[in-house]
């Protein structure tokens, strides 16, 4: 198993291929539906004026995301009252919902990896090659197992989005994932989708 330590260099990203198992160590940030929409509208497409602490958070995100990873995850967090946050359960959420945003977000922040589940589409795959970055697949539903690799919650941005949608800054150790979309145009998801489509067609031909 390959160990990936954040921040990650471009040459490391380019050396990764579909099918490779990795253990991720370092700092990463969770972000899902609300966060991606917010980043795109406020800082990238600028269709919405910054509000509240938006600009401060943006400056922090620029530093944190360069070379780092966005994790599609809405965790179960304990210690909300004392602010001694701990991830109790933290598996990946379905990534395809971020398909309209992902490539632009990665490019804007020069982030090097996305962790999620279910894979993403063509726009993201193209972004993987251009930025470059990789898509890393974690095991969906393996929330207690994955939470054990989250050693520390460093902080949280945009808690007003709600616990699942907030952007949690976490330190992980040997977080297990598999490269399923690489920076060379390879996508395990496209391969499986294509193969299953052919089988579906042959099954549909039978009454």
């Amino acid at each position: 198993m390959h160990t990936l330590t954040t921040p990650i260099q471009d040459e490391t990203i380019r050396s990764l291929k579909v099918g490779e198992a990795v253990g991720i160590t370092g700092t990463m940030i969770t972000g899902r539906d609300t966060a991606h929409k917010w980043m795109i509208e406020t800082f990238i497409n600028k269709t919405r004026p910054p509000q509240g602490d938006d600009l401060q958070v943006y400056e922090e995100l620029k530093k944190l995301l360069k070379g780092s990873i966005i994790y599609h995850c809405g965790p179960v967090v304990s210690g909300l009252e004392t602010k001694e946050y701990k991830f109790v359960a933290a598996g990946p959420t379905t990534s395809i919902r971020e398909e309209p945003y992902q490539a632009d977000v990665m490019k804007h922040f020069d982030a090097k990896g996305v962790i999620g589940k279910g894979g993403m589409g063509e726009k993201t795959l193209k972004g993987c090659q251009e930025v470059p970055f990789v898509y890393l697949h974690a095991i969906g539903g393996a929330a207690s197992f994955i939470a054990r690799t989250v050693k520390r919650v460093v902080g949280v941005f945009k808690l007003e989005f709600g616990i699942p949608e907030a952007m949690w800054v976490i330190e992980v150790e040997e977080f297990p994932a598999v490269v399923t979309m690489d920076a060379h145009g390879g996508s395990q998801h496209a391969v499986v989708a294509q193969a299953s489509k052919m089988i579906l067609e042959s099954l549909l031909a039978i009454d």
């Binding site: 179960v76 359960a89 969906g140 197992f145």
Partner: protein
């Protein structure tokens, strides 16, 4: 009336953290069917380790603790209004104790309520009165958003697939739904399928069949054979655990029918992820037990 808040809290904890034995057994069986060392096999190994760890540490199997769907069967004399308020109190407490993630989001104002309670419809609670000599039972399913999003409803005939208004047509659209879901509903999944009804009742029924244990078949042999055929053919698609490719895409198919209007013929498919969190609480006098 008894206050069951504490017992319902235990029902929620069990459902979120302890996968039913029949589901775990089926997942173990699936592991033996996959190629050792394959991505599919490793995914199932991780899934099984996670199941064990969640049970041991009493932590959620999946961070998406889903839509809590309660079905309450109560003998005459119980107040459904009080039961509802006890269920809601237990759910808020379960959220506070991190057995549940705060999951109720106001769709108009995009605001998470923070305690899993939202309006009259979240959590979802169904009441049904039963005979006086029957126990009170509360069943709970936690159904995550990833698998809910890949559910589908087809209005038949469905021309893109040449699927007509009969069981042959049903087969086609169900296979199509499994193909479209790929790994996004956290395969291997369990399919709840309802044929007939209106759009609402059909979808509800497709979830109700998920309360049945693994291995429970529709007693109608015509339906049983379709259930078995669909599971077999869905697995031929090769989507596999997590969509990595592999032999196990669907663990089981559960089909039921309901009466429809002459004009309407709906096929509704509820896809349940492998984290098939389903529990039942039985109240017999002062005795409370869990299945």
């Amino acid at each position: 009336m008894q206050d069951l808040t504490h017992e319902i809290l235990e029902l929620i904890r069990l459902t979120s953290t302890d996968l039913p034995a029949d589901v775990e057994l089926r997942l173990k069986q699936a592991l033996t069917e996959e190629e050792p060392g394959s991505a599919a096999s490793e995914a199932l190994e991780t899934i099984l380790k996670n199941v064990e760890l969640s049970r041991l540490n009493s932590t959620p199997i999946c961070q998406d603790t889903g839509t809590p769907i309660f079905y309450v069967h109560y003998p005459e004399g119980w107040s459904t209004r009080q039961l509802k308020s006890q269920i809601r109190a237990a759910l808020a407490e379960a959220t506070k104790r991190s057995f549940m993630r705060p999951n109720a989001v106001d769709a108009i104002y995009d605001k998470n309520s923070g305690n899993n309670l939202g309006g009259e419809d979240f959590p979802s609670i169904h009441f049904e009165e039963v005979d006086k000599d029957q126990p009170l039972t509360i069943q709970l399913i936690l159904k995550g958003g990833g698998c809910e999003n890949v559910g589908a409803q087809y209005s038949m005939p469905y021309n893109p697939l040449g699927a007509g208004r009969d069981l042959r047509g049903v087969r086609k659209v169900v296979l199509d739904a499994v193909y479209k879901a790929q790994g996004q509903g956290c395969a291997p999944g369990i399919l709840g399928v309802a044929i007939g009804g209106d759009r609402g009742s059909s979808y509800i029924k497709s979830k109700e069949v998920l309360f049945e244990k693994m291995g429970t078949r529709n007693p109608d042999p015509n339906v049983t054979s379709l259930e078995e055929r669909l599971t077999r053919e869905a697995n031929q698609l090769g989507i596999g655990p997590m969509g990595f490719g592999g032999k196990t895409t669907v663990l089981e198919t559960k089909i039921t029918g309901l009466h429809r209007l002459p004009a309407s013929y709906f096929v509704s498919i509820s896809y349940m992820c492998w984290a098939y969190r389903r529990r039942k609480m039985i109240v017999n006098g002062n005795q409370v037990s869990y299945e």
